[in-house]
């Protein structure tokens, strides 16, 4: 059930009415949320439910057991069991076939056919696995108390707005909200609707229209000039941002309708002035997860330069592989790490530099960071490493290497494919987001209610006319 589908629209209207008008107590609301979350998840494939049920039950009982066990060694064993089960399931469903296929490439004599599992990847497994993992670790570290209510815990694991693509929530933030009575707040509900509308604008108008041209360019990249290839990479940057942050906006907005607050996942990342700032603003719930559960336990930044480089590499390597079982994702992660390291190493000097931090350089720095990020996205989007390098080589084609040639290529592609209409839409997106860069989301203008309403109607009509519904799901569902 996609967020931009009619089914979800009906689901959310009926669930909202039942939640506030039929189920009025905290207990019954939690039970209802659990039921509709399982219904939502089972809509993809009911077999997925067994895995999430098993994961919830196991982590619930391990959490209880850890909290009641005083011996450190026993607690450690219980945590290891939780890690083994959760990471084991992730490894089995997501990475096993990839590693076998990679092994076969290294050892050509090996017959992969008998070894491959070819199992379907449960939607959102990486997201809810990380969420339950953080719960077990936090209970083990005594940062939080173990949850004693199974319904609340299971609802926390499978809370439908953020189940399949995040934000990855911590128990201290989300689970705690299941323990409180929810009171309907009109302001939150209106904000929720605006967030949903802005998310739909990003997903159905920008991402799904832009994807038509991105697919075209990446599908036949050998036939395009450098200008078109650069244009394709930049379009993909907008596509993936709108696809994923659009999903997050709808998730956060939907949660608000049910009286929950989810954590922010994006903070206008394309207005970042360098790659470290970008990573502080992109997929923030995952970045924070890596920071808290990998980077800091490894020593964080208060270590020698060599250890710092190692820590950064490990985090970006894991980030790459978290995104998918493919070498392209791993390389994408590592390349991000390579660009991250110099700034991390020389951060103190960098921050003090008056020249580098001059206001006049803000726009060029934003543009340059966007350019770098767009080039890196090529590795994320390409089907193989060879294609990614071929594509980047095409962008840097020296025979075309002039601004005029680049612009000519883009102009040629745009006029031939009649995609001029995407420019005003992208303009609205980035101008609205820039104007709200100190607020919560792109439509969060501090206006009088009547102007807010008019603005919402304007966005609705854009969606009504320009929305596109290809058969593809949200990009991050595959992770």
């Amino acid at each position: 059930m996609l967020f931009n589908s009619v089914e979800f629209f009906v689901f959310i209207v009926l669930s909202f009415l039942a939640y506030w008008f039929v189920f009025k107590t905290k207990k019954s609301q939690n039970l209802f949320l659990l039921a509709i979350s399982y219904f939502f998840y089972g809509w993809w494939d009911w077999r997925f439910l067994f895995l999430i049920l098993a994961s919830s039950l196991l982590d619930f009982y391990i959490g209880m057991k850890i909290s009641k066990t005083p011996e450190k060694s026993k607690r450690k064993k219980l945590l290891a069991l939780s890690l083994f089960f959760n990471l084991g399931a992730l490894a089995l469903f997501k990475y096993y076939d990839f590693f076998i296929s990679s092994l076969v490439e290294v050892l050509p004599g090996l017959d992969a056919n008998g070894l491959l599992l070819k199992v379907m990847l449960p939607v959102g497994i990486s997201f809810y696995t990380f969420q339950t993992l953080s719960y077990s670790i936090d209970v083990y570290k005594e940062k939080i108390k173990a949850e004693s209510n199974l319904v609340s815990f299971a609802a926390f694991v499978c809370f439908f707005p953020q189940l399949v693509a995040g934000p990855i929530e911590r128990a201290k933030d989300l689970l705690a909200q299941f323990e409180k009575n929810r009171i309907f707040k009109s302001k939150d509900a209106y904000d929720g609707l605006q967030l949903i509308l802005w998310g739909l604008f990003k997903k159905s108008i920008i991402a799904d229209n832009v994807s038509i041209y991105v697919d075209k360019i990446f599908g036949e990249y050998q036939h395009y000039d450098s200008g078109t290839l650069l244009f394709g990479a930049m379009l993909f940057s907008s596509q993936i941002y709108c696809d994923f942050s659009g999903y997050s906006d709808i998730a956060i907005g939907t949660s608000k309708l049910f009286g929950f607050n989810l954590s922010r996942n994006f903070n206008f990342p394309y207005f970042s002035k360098n790659i470290t700032e970008f990573w502080k603003k992109w997929h923030m719930s995952l970045t924070n997860w890596f920071k808290d559960y990998i980077y800091i336990p490894l020593g964080g930044s208060r270590v020698t330069s060599i250890i710092l480089v190692r820590n950064i590499f490990i985090v970006f390597f894991v980030s790459g592989i978290w995104h998918g079982a493919n070498w392209t994702y791993i390389l994408w992660g590592v390349l991000n790490g390579v660009l991250f390291i110099p700034i991390a190493l020389y951060n103190k000097h960098y921050e003090k530099s008056k020249i580098l931090n001059a206001r006049i350089l803000n726009i060029p720095r934003i543009v340059f960071t966007f350019f770098l990020v767009s080039i890196l996205w090529v590795f994320f989007r390409a089907d193989s490493i060879d294609i990614a390098f071929g594509y980047v080589e095409g962008i840097a084609n020296l025979t075309d290497f002039s601004p005029v040639a680049y612009l000519k290529g883009i102009y040629g592609f745009v006029t031939w494919n009649k995609c001029q209409y995407i420019f005003p839409l992208l303009f609205i997106l980035y101008v609205f987001e820039y104007l709200n860069k100190n607020n919560q989301f792109g439509l969060d203008f501090k206006l009088k209610p009547v102007f807010k309403l008019l603005l919402s109607i304007f966005i609705f009509f854009l969606w009504f006319v320009f929305a596109n519904y290809p058969s593809e799901e949200f990009i991050y569902f595959q992770f």
């Binding site: 209207v13 506030w20 509900a189 609707l193 009509f461 969606w463 006319v465 320009f466 596109n468 519904y469």
Partner: protein, 294 residues
Amino acid sequence: MKTFFKFSVIALVSILGVHFYAASLAGGRFDDNYNKFTMEPKSSIVVGSSRATHGLNPNFILGGEIANFAFDAFSSPFSKEYNDAIYSFLGDSLKSKGTVIIEVNPWTLSLDTSLAEPFREKDRVLSKGISFGDKPNFSFLFKNYDHGWGKIIMDEVLFPNESKNLHNNGWLEVSLEMGKPSIKERKAGLLASYRKKAKSSIVSDYRINSLIALIDSLNDFKKVFITKLPVCTELLKIESEFFNEDSVYAIIREQCPTTEFIDLKPQGLIWIDGHHVFKNSVELMSSRLSQRIQ
């Protein structure tokens, strides 16, 4: 909560209202197939691919008492999906007397083996379980229309699509620039793509058997004609590279002895691309066919 609830009801009713309004305007300009799903069933129909959709106007055949139910080679090659759609479209008139004109060509009786999924009809419009005969057809709009419904208003009313109009009888009127250079450019593009396609296409027993099954099921109540619509000589040459017309049609003739084959002459016809006839030639070609089946 009351205020929010009132606001939500007004918003919901408004959203549904504008969608209903857009659906009520849906016609022949926003989509190449929509009217085929809204037209009333007739006991006589034209079946086939885009050559027939573009080239046969029911107004000039059997006094207009026939519906054009041809689509394109991707959606309606001879297949179970197409046969089921024809039965579903005809409904009760399946068992009443009438005439069926089946347009055949090499592309609807073959498979392109270079494709990962050579049976492309499986995810096209006729295999989506869309109902026939409703207007507006919400089943079509929900299952097959990939855009915001506001685009319907744009394409039908505000900025009508001038190049294509699917009439209520199923004829797709195509209006393109017909200067010699434009025709030459379109023809060159089309021939190049078909040349490539011909290299990987093979005659398909499945498609031939589907056609025979269709004829068999219609023969009891209706007079069935098979026709081959004229195309430019260059395209005929490309088609002959993989499609032995005589042997394929011999199989159909043998299996369906009562079915009459009609070959139409190309004299006087103009094509927009060597494949589809220009709208000014449609009357000539349709009338010629009508005379042959009287």
